[in-house]
């Protein structure tokens, strides 16, 4: 078993194509997870019992079932009900909604950490509920959450190889097809690992920088 640099040069463009899809799925999945996660967190606080309980159940249900099973449902089962999704769309929805259930927990903790006095001051200033969320609570609650959210972004990134199971042509699936075709696993799999590591190493400090920028008032 010897490392073959010529083979590396040959397969690199294909792997980088796969990496683009991996990054795209992660970015879209993260945005969806953040938005849906915030929605879950807010709906769970609804004074309407039916809304808050239903949301709580849904969140538990999604969190308690494997992402791979959810992806299979989205891509292979839903078409039976007439809902046809492209592989990438199904993958992004699967990743996004699955991680939204974890992010909802981060949002909940961040919102609960906002001192009660801030809600009271907002009321004394006669702000509406929507204005209070928009101008007082979320701008204070979100910056401290960024490290925890960033962990989930990175975790999601590392789970994107699951998308190969629903025919998304991302990094892992490209590497596997190269390996199967050439009967060489060493270079493709090593490169997959190296590329994932490289992106993770760049992403973590970048997200911390983001956190510092948002926290100008501390």
């Amino acid at each position: 078993m010897e490392w073959d640099w010529a083979f590396v040069r040959e397969i690199m463009p294909t792997l980088l194509d796969g990496l683009k899809i991996t990054v795209l799925a992660t970015v879209l999945g993260s945005v969806l997870a953040a938005v849906v996660g915030l929605a879950f967190a807010l709906l769970r606080r609804s004074p309407n019992r039916l809304v808050s309980r239903t949301t709580a159940f849904l969140v538990e249900f999604i969190r308690g079932t494997p992402l791979l099973v959810q992806l299979y449902f989205l891509f292979y089962v839903l078409p039976g009900a007439g809902i046809l999704l492209s592989p990438l769309t199904a993958g992004v929805i699967g990743l996004g909604v699955h991680y939204a259930t974890y992010m909802a927990e981060v949002f909940r903790a961040g919102i609960d950490n906002t001192p009660r006095g801030q809600w009271e001051a907002a009321k004394a200033c006669n702000l509406t509920a929507v204005q209070t969320w928009q101008h007082i609570i979320l701008p204070q609650a979100i910056p401290p959450m960024i490290p925890a959210l960033a962990n989930y972004f990175v975790a999601m990134f590392k789970e994107t190889p699951l998308l190969s199971a629903i025919t998304v042509v991302e990094l892992m699936s490209q590497a596997r097809s190269i390996a199967n075709f050439n009967y060489r696993y060493l270079e493709p799999m090593t490169l997959v690992g190296v590329l994932f590591l490289a992106i993770s190493l760049i992403a973590v400090p970048a997200l911390h920088l983001l956190e510092r920028r948002f926290r100008r008032y501390r």
Binding site: P115, G117, Q118, E120, A121, K123, A124, C125, N126, L127, T128, A129, Q131, H135, I136, P139, Q140, R216, Y217, R218
Partner: protein
């Protein structure tokens, strides 16, 4: 000639409120005339802060009625019947009332100026330039114009509280509620806040209710003092009477303790 009848601006009518088994307001009744300066004193847990928070709608009541400026606070009239107030009614009523808190509760992510301009811009649709002009006038008045662009974290307690007063005034309320606004301050910073309140007392006709442990300030400032104990008003009257010649035994005990703790009245 009979004198013109002036209606009270606040009327608390048989109000009761409990937290679980603890009754914090017991069948409470009192009214406040427009422009009156009222000091609420009494031991902790006596309900004085709760009634202030109730007037700001931060607390709900279990029974009774509160009227502010002629309207029910927690109720509204619909088709001739009195029904619980909806959010729109509460929103309208809150516009008449401002509140300053013991722990300031400034918005830490906004500058001093933004703290004062935010509510007028959002709730009254005041344009940014106009809101800033008025905010600077108010900050000037409380002696904080020089810190307009600072963040609250950079201010001392006394400075924070003066900004909080300006923030409450920005909505031009008819009634101002002051909830132990000097209790969290270092002793040397108390006076700068009291000075602002003295100025408001003499220069405006706002109705002011303050919960305070500063007895000498209450003595000089208030038109009338209410002494609370265990959810009731035990005694009320002009400060000269309450402080120098309290009739009720509980008021006497309370004031003795205050004097023993070293306060001048």
């Amino acid at each position: 000639m009979t004198e013109p009848i002036i209606d009270p601006i606040i009327n608390v009518d048989h109000v009761t409120k409990s937290y679980g088994s603890f009754t914090v307001l017991k069948d409470l009744c009192f009214s406040v005339m427009p422009g009156e300066k009222l000091a609420l004193i009494g031991p902790s847990g006596s309900g004085k802060t709760t009634i202030l928070r109730t007037l700001m709608t931060l607390e709900r009541i279990d029974s009774g009625f509160v009227r502010v400026d002629g309207d029910y606070l927690f109720h509204m009239e619909r088709n001739g019947r009195v029904v619980p107030a909806d959010e729109a009614h509460l929103h309208r009523m809150r516009a008449k009332i401002g509140m300053v808190f013991q722990l300031f509760n400034l918005f830490p992510h906004k500058t001093v100026l933004e703290n004062v301009t935010l509510a007028p811009m959002l709730t009254k649709g005041v344009r940014a330039a106009e809101a800033q002009r008025r905010a600077m006038e108010l900050l000037e008045m409380v002696g904080m114009a020089g810190k307009a662009n600072s963040m609250p974290a950079a201010l001392s307690g006394g400075q924070k509280q003066r900004v909080a007063i300006a923030r409450a005034l920005a909505l031009q309320p008819r009634i101002m509620l002051f909830d132990e606004v000097t209790s969290a301050l270092d002793p040397e910073l108390v006076e700068e806040v009291l000075n602002v309140m003295r100025m408001l007392g003499t220069q405006t006709d706002m109705t002011m209710l303050l919960v305070t442990h500063e007895m000498s300030f209450a003595h000089d400032f208030a038109d009338r003092v209410l002494f609370f104990d265990r959810g009731r008003i035990v005694e009320e009257g002009p400060p000269g009477e309450i402080f120098t010649n309290p009739r009720h035994e509980r008021t006497q005990t309370f004031l003795k303790k205050i004097i023993a703790a070293g306060q001048r009245i």
